[in-house]
């Protein structure tokens, strides 16, 4: 695990809104494989791209990106 790992919720947001990887890539102006590498956590975006992704999904940046792993769905329900 890299010390500079950035976690993201792009696959979840994409699935929730029914957006394909290629559509998201076209909207962001990046190669579709870049979206795949982002989702797999193999590439950390620049601040500019991260802001554009958050803007595209119309959510605050911290909803999409985090330095800590996102909790699994339902894990906070006791």
């Amino acid at each position: 695990m890299s010390a500079e790992e950035v976690y993201n919720r792009i696959p979840m947001l994409r699935a929730e809104r029914g957006i394909s990887r290629k559509d998201l890539a076209a909207a962001l102006g990046v190669h579709y494989q870049t979206v795949g590498y982002l989702e797999r956590g193999e590439y950390s975006p620049s601040l500019y791209l991260a802001l554009r992704i958050a803007e595209y999904f119309e959510v605050p940046m911290e909803v999409v990106f985090s330095l800590k792993p996102f909790p699994r769905l339902g894990s906070e329900v006791k």
């Binding site: 990887r21 990046v30 979206v35 795949g36 590498y37 989702e39």
Partner: protein
């Protein structure tokens, strides 16, 4: 002029996105095999230069060099074409056609390749120096050897970043959502 350049860059970018013979670069092992093939072709170009230098302009030398050039071309052309498609033109396309991840990958590949070419240039300088010391002032290097040396150096300079990029390339994410 600009229109022609743009059309060329666009068509080059389109070709790089086509899945030409995908089985040849589907796995990391196969991509590394392609990179090794291209490296072998480069090595042959250096062997050519050495043969031309050591044997001088003889009939036997011409045949050896010609055979090596044919073998080199047969390995080099398909390997470089497939490596360009596998890397989606990371080292071949114009900068404005690449995104930030691809540009970062290109910079890393060029930086690593430059280290290798610096070592090659240093080794060449040593070879020329040692040759000059032992052969004396009157000794000349055959013109054909210089030509093949230039060819080997130019090919190495142009193709090494692509080889490095193809060697490092992780498995691309599957097209799972269309």
């Amino acid at each position: 002029m600009t229109g022609w350049k743009e059309r060329w860059q666009r068509s080059q970018a389109e070709v790089m996105q086509r899945d030409m013979l995908p089985a040849w670069y589907a796995t990391r092992e196969r991509r590394r095999l392609l990179a090794a093939g291209a490296a072998l072709a480069l090595a042959l170009s250096w062997v050519n230069a050495v043969v031309a230098w050591v044997m001088g302009p003889t009939e036997a030398q011409r045949w050896i060099v010609l055979t090596l050039l044919v073998v080199m071309g047969l390995v080099y052309l398909p390997a470089v074409t497939l490596m360009n498609v596998a890397t989606r033109g990371v080292t071949a396309l114009a900068e404005q056609q690449l995104d930030e991840r691809q540009l970062g990958e290109r910079l890393r590949a060029v930086a690593l390749a430059q280290r290798a070419t610096t070592t090659i240039l240093a080794a060449l300088a040593v070879v020329f120096l040692v040759n000059g010391m032992f052969q004396g002032r009157g000794h000349t290097v055959p013109g054909s050897a210089m030509l093949y040396l230039f060819l080997a150096l130019a090919l190495t300079h142009f193709v090494l970043p692509l080889i490095v990029s193809c060697w490092r390339l992780p498995d691309p994410p599957p097209d799972d959502d269309d």
